[in-house]
């Protein structure tokens, strides 16, 4: 298979995005649909069984919570916000990497995203689902959660739009919906592939309904590409805004350690940081179990690891700035909040956070680490642990010791705090298992589109080229410089 010279970066001699003998359009189709069309491997069944078990735990925890009330959790004075909000922020944060990969990397023309964006977006949807359960169940009377929606009612009651918790309702729900739409639009051509290959009527109808009758028409692709680009353009500020809104939950307060202006970009960077780590964790497993190693290659991990290093450094910058300004401000409460984090009763949590978030990603300065599967797997898990602890440290340390020493306390999670959190992983992995079983986990049409043979090279010049726009004057003839137009004959 000839490879266009254009795809080899002259500096780093980047390998092809798709490796292996079967790097053809059909090869990609076969590789990607195999997990969907064939019986899944044993690993899938085991994972699914374990996930279902944890999902069951989730169900039981929620049922018990609704029956007994919020008292089953460890939340109490002075720490009125405990694990549930930490878990909420944790899951929303994880979701953001999916949108980054789908939308932001698309806008930056990073072709390597095409092998992982489908799974990453799916991860976003499932993470948002997990995230939304926590505000849903923590309200004390979850059966009147609908009061949070601005629907006219007989009590003349309306939501309090000035509250950041209301902003969360809108932001996270809209984020879920827009991510769903973006993911679905991307799926349409691939669902058509599954429909066309379906061997049973049930599959043909099931995939066919959602494929919307897609027939690969260029007239449709034109609208599709525009919609995709605009969705990417909308999803990018959306991602920034959602985690900023989540950070507002804390930053609009007057609590030392919470009220600081850097929270919005700091939280966004942290979200991408943890989400990218989760993508790596999932991809390390999936590519081996589902034989996608030619599509998800060391190059992809190299790029993801660099993003982890970048966002981890931004998070580190935020830690340092906060610490400095806590001193600079001269506000004794602010300074105490930070010294308490590092040296008070929760110092253990703080140092777990620092070592996982700031220290562990430093290995990614080395290319060897960025492309070593064991290192990637271990660091990605450490990062997620660290990011959970970051939210824990932020929430709990500022609450357990605020302005009045007589109100100080110590928070301990209850069994049901832990059970609910672990159970949420059950929901996440169950959904993810179902996803890889029934839907193509790589965006086939996108990957095909970045193959070298997807581009028509060596064509004769178009007799009726597009009329140039007035400002685009043709390049002036310059001695010694060939015009950037085809010479004529194919090489």
């Amino acid at each position: 298979m000839a490879r266009a010279v254009a795809d080899i970066d002259p500096v780093e001699h980047r390998p092809a995005l798709v490796t292996g003998d079967d790097a053809s359009f059909h090869g990609i189709t076969e590789t990607v649909v195999a997990p969907v069309e064939w019986k899944p491997p044993l690993g899938w069944y085991l994972t699914f069984a374990v996930s279902l078990a944890f999902l069951g735990l989730f169900g039981v925890s929620i049922a018990w919570l609704i029956w007994e009330g919020v008292g089953v959790w460890g939340n109490n004075q002075p720490v009125g916000w405990g694990w549930p909000i930490v878990n909420f922020v944790f899951w929303v944060g994880i979701g953001h990497a999916g949108t980054l990969i789908s939308a932001v990397l698309f806008l930056f023309r990073q072709k390597w995203r095409t092998s992982i964006n489908r799974a990453a977006e799916a991860m976003t949807l499932f993470a948002v689902a997990c995230a939304l359960t926590f505000p849903g169940i923590h309200t004390g009377r979850p059966w009147v959660d609908y009061w949070m929606l601005p629907a006219p009612n007989q009590m003349s009651m309306w939501p309090q739009f000035r509250s950041p918790l209301m902003w969360d309702v809108f932001a996270v729900s809209i984020y879920g919906l827009v991510s769903l739409l973006f993911w679905y639009v991307g799926l349409i051509p691939d669902l058509a592939t599954l429909r066309d290959r379906a061997t049973s009527r049930v599959r043909q109808v099931a995939y066919g309904i959602f494929a919307l009758g897609w027939r690969g028409s260029m007239r449709h692709w034109l609208h599709y590409e525009k919609a995709y680009l605009l969705l990417a353009g909308l999803a990018t500020p959306l991602v920034l805004s959602v985690h900023s809104v989540v950070s507002f939950d804390f930053a609009v307060s007057q609590l030392p350690g919470w009220h600081t202006t850097i929270f919005p970009p700091y939280f966004v960077a942290g979200a991408i940081f943890s989400g990218m780590a989760m993508v790596i964790t999932l991809m390390v497993i999936c590519r081996v179990v589902f034989k996608l190693t030619n599509l998800i290659t060391p190059l992809h991990f190299d790029r993801m690891a660099k993003l982890i290093l970048l966002t981890g450094t931004i998070v580190g910058y935020a830690y340092a700035t906060e610490f400095f300004v806590a001193w600079y401000s001269g506000n004794p409460f602010e300074l105490f909040a930070f010294t308490n984090r590092a040296m008070g009763p929760y110092a253990w949590a703080y140092w777990i956070m620092v070592s996982c978030n700031v220290l562990s990603p430093q290995v990614f300065w080395f290319k060897k680490a960025r492309t070593s599967i064991p290192v990637l797997f271990v660091v990605s898990i450490l990062v997620n642990i660290g990011m959970w602890f970051e939210r824990f440290v932020i929430v709990v340390t500022s609450l357990h010791r605020d302005f009045l020493p007589s109100s100080w306390g110590y928070f301990r999670p209850s069994f049901w705090d832990i059970a609910t959190f672990l159970g949420s992983f059950g929901l996440f992995f169950t959904l993810f298992c179902l996803f890889v079983r029934y839907l193509p986990m790589v965006a086939m049409s996108e990957v095909k589109g970045v193959l070298p043979q997807a581009h028509a090279h060596g064509l004769p010049p178009d007799a009726t080229p597009e009329k140039p726009i007035a400002d685009e004057a043709p390049p002036r003839p310059r001695p010694g410089l060939a015009r950037p137009e085809p010479e004529g004959s194919p090489s």
Partner: protein, 423 residues
């Protein structure tokens, strides 16, 4: 839909592309930008002398005007450094053809080491916390003394300007060396160096903003302040690079530039401006996001220690400026730069870039002047200081541009950049 950014017709095949030689892209002898050297130098020197002459009796006003001018042109130079570091860190191919311009801009940083001297000498005139006796009755300020004291302040300042000068000069020099050596190893090296350099950039910029701008109001603080200044630098540099590239496309007519084209004519295409425009738009939105976050959080918690900073900008006539800033720095550019048409049309984009450079000044004016108790109208001193520092900046830029190639001719990704097509 993942558009191949290296899609091109057959004429360019990576290294087989016809080599663009350094004298093809050298600045022609009669090019208008060359005139910036004598003109800018003269205007700059004269204006600066006039500034100091006029301001002698009013040191507080003098140095606040000087600070504003210094900081404005500094953010352009720092933006240049950011542009260069960013393109290397991201291994970008599209931008190679415009990167040299940014390298020249960042090469002016040593000038700011010189221009820092008056500020260093006048700390006492400008910063309230350095006044004698300021800390005696103010325990809050006294607590900041380990950081806000003249000696450490000046030391830090010297460190920042030297660090920037070194980075700017060094990256430019390495890139220029590649013009003759054509060694891809240079690119690899600069790529590796750009990441730690970015960290140094971020930390120094943050503390410089804290020191020179935020401490004008020493009781106030905001952790996002460094990011806010950075956003302004980014907006400024994408505007400046676009404008300079357009200026270099036009020419003074000489043997090297072709009939009436400048050194960049035919090399920088509408595709590059589209990308520069997209990045400019993105950073305009980013600036607004940071500015709004800072404002809304402080407004919401309503803590007097913090809100006082905004109160200064909403009273005594400053409210109009605040509204003007929001409208001109965000609302108008948002709807203007979002259009594909604007970004792909040189005159339209140029208007947008000039506009952003102007409102960037307004942003810094709004940051600095209320903190020194000035009124909302710019003064003659502001204008003179602006011309003074700006003239010297442009003269330095012209001096840096006079010999080297305006395009990194030895960069291995140049061919990719020349044939770049947008989405």
């Amino acid at each position: 839909m993942a558009h191949d950014d290296a899609h091109h017709e057959d004429a360019h095949h990576g290294h087989d592309a016809p080599k663009i030689t350094a004298d093809r892209v050298a600045l022609p002898a009669g090019h208008p930008l060359r005139r910036l050297l004598p003109v800018g130098g003269a205007v700059g020197a004269l204006a600066l002398v006039a500034t100091f002459a006029l301001g002698l009796g009013h040191p507080h006003e003098l140095y606040s005007s000087y600070l504003l001018a210094f900081f404005y042109w500094l953010t352009l130079a720092l933006g240049g450094l950011f542009f260069v570091l960013l393109q290397f860190a991201t291994r970008a191919g599209w931008s190679v053809v415009v990167r040299r311009v940014a390298e020249h801009v960042s090469g002016t940083l040593p000038l700011f080491a010189l221009l820092f001297v008056p500020l260093a000498l006048a700390v006492g005139q400008l910063y309230h916390w350095s006044e004698a006796g300021a800390m005696d009755h103010d325990p809050l300020l006294a607590g900041k003394a380990p950081y806000l004291n003249e000696g450490f302040f000046i030391t830090r300042g010297v460190f920042f300007v030297l660090a920037w000068s070194l980075l700017g000069w060094w990256f430019r020099r390495r890139s220029m060396a590649q013009d003759t050596s054509h060694d891809p190893g240079a690119t690899r090296f600069l790529q590796s160096a750009s990441a730690p350099a970015l960290i140094v950039f971020a930390v120094t910029l943050t503390f410089a903003s804290f020191d020179w701008v935020m401490s004008l109001d020493p009781h106030w603080y905001s952790t996002i302040f460094g990011v806010y200044i950075f956003a302004g630098c980014a907006v400024a540099i994408f505007s400046l690079v676009s404008l300079l590239s357009m200026a270099l496309e036009k020419g003074g007519g000489s043997k090297s530039g072709g009939p009436s084209g400048g050194p960049l004519a035919g090399l920088v295409t509408v595709e590059h401006y589209h990308d520069l425009g997209k990045l400019l738009f993105g950073f305009v939105v980013f600036w607004a996001y940071i500015a709004f976050s800072q404002f809304m959080l402080i407004w919401y918690s309503n803590i007097p220690e913090e809100t006082v900073w905004y109160r200064h900008r909403l009273e005594h006539g400053w409210k109009a400026v605040t509204i003007l800033l929001a409208v001109t720095h965000f609302a108008i550019p948002f709807f203007y730069l979002i259009l594909r048409r604007t970004k792909r049309n040189r005159p339209l984009l140029a208007i947008g870039c000039l506009w952003m450079l102007a409102v960037h000044w307004l942003d810094l004016f709004w940051l600095i002047k209320p903190a020194v108790g000035a009124g909302p109208m710019p003064t003659l001193l502001d204008l003179l200081a602006f011309l003074g520092t700006g003239g010297l900046f442009l003269a330095t830029l012209a001096w840096l541009m006079r010999k080297p190639a305006t395009v990194p001719v030895g960069d291995p990704r140049l061919a990719e950049s020349l044939s770049f097509e947008n989405m």
